[in-house]
């Protein structure tokens, strides 16, 4: 068993035009910077990206948007990106907006073999269009389908050679649910250790979900809004 790959370029092998990717992170926090750079470099296009946000103009998924490599975004919030808004208003980009909790749960369901589930979010709004409505305990709910991806690309703090992952602070966010829902899941980690070095009670993502792992380099870790006391 060997899940360790050399770098992002090797990790993204097999990602082809038209594929669906899940990309972890919330805003610019916990995004797989190395893999995004490698995707930009690879020139792969017509991607459908499932990601809570779309990065900013010159960072995160914004880098892929700028080069028109993304055909469709499935997200909950895409503000903070003027290029995104421009492409969307010009019809250059398809966008499906999904309530944030529903998005996270759809990824989790995809990983856990639950093809559909009911949630209250979005009932009575445009999100409900075309969806089955059913009442539970007197409250209307929407039937939502699971999401899966050809590749899920996540970023963790620590990882081991078996693919076990630990996330740091709020950089967990969508990484943990998405890691379960890729046909192939790629993890880039700040610190890569041997199997057995992580406490088995503290693993956020068990290695069974991760097919490729590598030690990332040169993190910028850009902050969108530095607020200090």
């Amino acid at each position: 068993m060997n899940k360790v790959v050399k770098d992002a370029r090797e990790a993204i092998k097999g990602i082809e035009d038209g594929m669906t990717l899940m990309v972890g992170g919330f805003g610019l926090s916990g995004i797989p910077e190395n893999c995004i750079s490698a995707l930009v470099e690879s020139g792969v296009k017509d991607l459908t990206c499932i990601s809570n946000n779309a990065g900013v103009d010159d960072f995160g998924l914004g880098l892929l948007l700028k080069k028109h490599q993304i055909k469709k975004m499935i997200s909950s919030y895409v503000g903070e990106n003027a290029e995104f808004e421009r492409q969307l208003l010009n019809g250059e980009l398809e966008v499906e907006l999904i309530p944030q909790g529903t998005l996270a749960e759809r990824c989790l369901a995809g990983g856990a073999g639950i093809p559909a589930f009911f949630v209250p979010a979005g009932y009575g709004t445009e999100v409900a269009e075309g969806k089955e409505v059913r009442e539970f305990n007197g409250k209307p709910h929407l039937l939502e389908n699971a999401l899966t991806a050809d590749y899920a690309i996540v970023k963790a703090w620590k990882g081991d050679t078996h693919g076990n992952l630990i996330y740091r602070y709020t950089a967990n966010n969508f990484n943990q649910p998405m890691a379960t829902a890729g046909k192939i899941t790629i993890a880039e980690v700040e610190e890569l250790v041997e199997a057995g070095e992580l406490d088995p009670m503290q693993i956020h993502t068990p290695g069974i979900f991760v097919q490729r792992i590598f030690k990332s380099t040169n993190y910028e870790k850009r902050i969108e809004r530095i607020t200090e006391r």
Partner: protein, 219 residues
């Protein structure tokens, strides 16, 4: 006189109870954290995956891995915890958050809310707002009573795309504290020096006035 944003937050803070888990939205709601009454402990949930959110970090201590749902750098308090986005919205959807405070463009006298989209102008997405309004047992909307050009934002029907239906229970505006019941907008309190007539004039939806309406009290 109409309340300042800080005073709206201050009035909302009076609704807090000891031990409450609270989710505060972006804007005025965030300011509520500055006015937690003494002797009361509330725990702030940030829907990107944190309980026990603390204040902004000291200068030089900002950490890209520790942000709130508004993408601001923050800190965590003792007793807090981190978790993933699915777990976070599990808490919200499951009704474990005691109070949600959020902003809105428009609210109706049936509790409908529009807060996420202005067609043709703004396509940012709903983020967690739809999950929050559909799930919370207890929602307070913090907003201005009227738009900059004087149009009422407390309406019979929303003109903008909805975030949720029949979910808002209470509104605190710069002019009034209002409860939403089957009867409509029930006026509970007035901003200091603001008359019932002024509030009526600023409210397009059905406003219900029962007896003497007290002024808000600030300690």
């Amino acid at each position: 006189m109409a309340l300042s944003k800080e005073q709206i937050a201050q009035r909302i803070a009076q609704e807090l109870e000891d031990g409450y888990y609270v989710n505060l939205g972006i804007g005025i709601p965030t300011l509520v954290a500055n006015y937690v009454p003494e002797g009361i402990e509330v725990i702030l949930q940030s829907e990107n995956g944190m309980l026990g959110m603390g204040q902004f970090p000291e200068k030089g201590k900002a950490d890209a891995d520790l942000i709130n749902a508004g993408k601001q750098t923050v800190t965590i308090l003792p007793g807090g915890s981190f978790f993933d986005s699915a777990a976070s919205f599990g808490m919200i959807r499951g009704g474990h958050v005691d109070l949600t405070v959020l902003g809105a463009f428009e609210v109706t006298d049936q509790g409908d809310i529009a807060s996420w989209k202005i067609p043709g102008k703004m396509v940012k997405g709903m983020g967690g707002a739809m999950d929050l309004v559909a799930s919370a047992k207890n929602i307070i909307v913090a907003m201005q009573h009227t738009s900059k050009d004087g149009q009422s934002k407390l309406l019979k029907e929303c003109t903008l795309p909805l975030t949720g239906v029949k979910c808002v229970k209470k509104i605190v505006t710069d002019l009034a504290v209002i409860e939403i019941t089957d009867e409509g907008f029930v006026l509970l309190e007035r901003a200091p020096g603001v008359s019932v007539e002024e509030i009526k004039a600023a409210t397009e939806g059905r406003l219900v006035v029962k007896g003497e309406v007290p002024e808000m009290a600030f300690s």
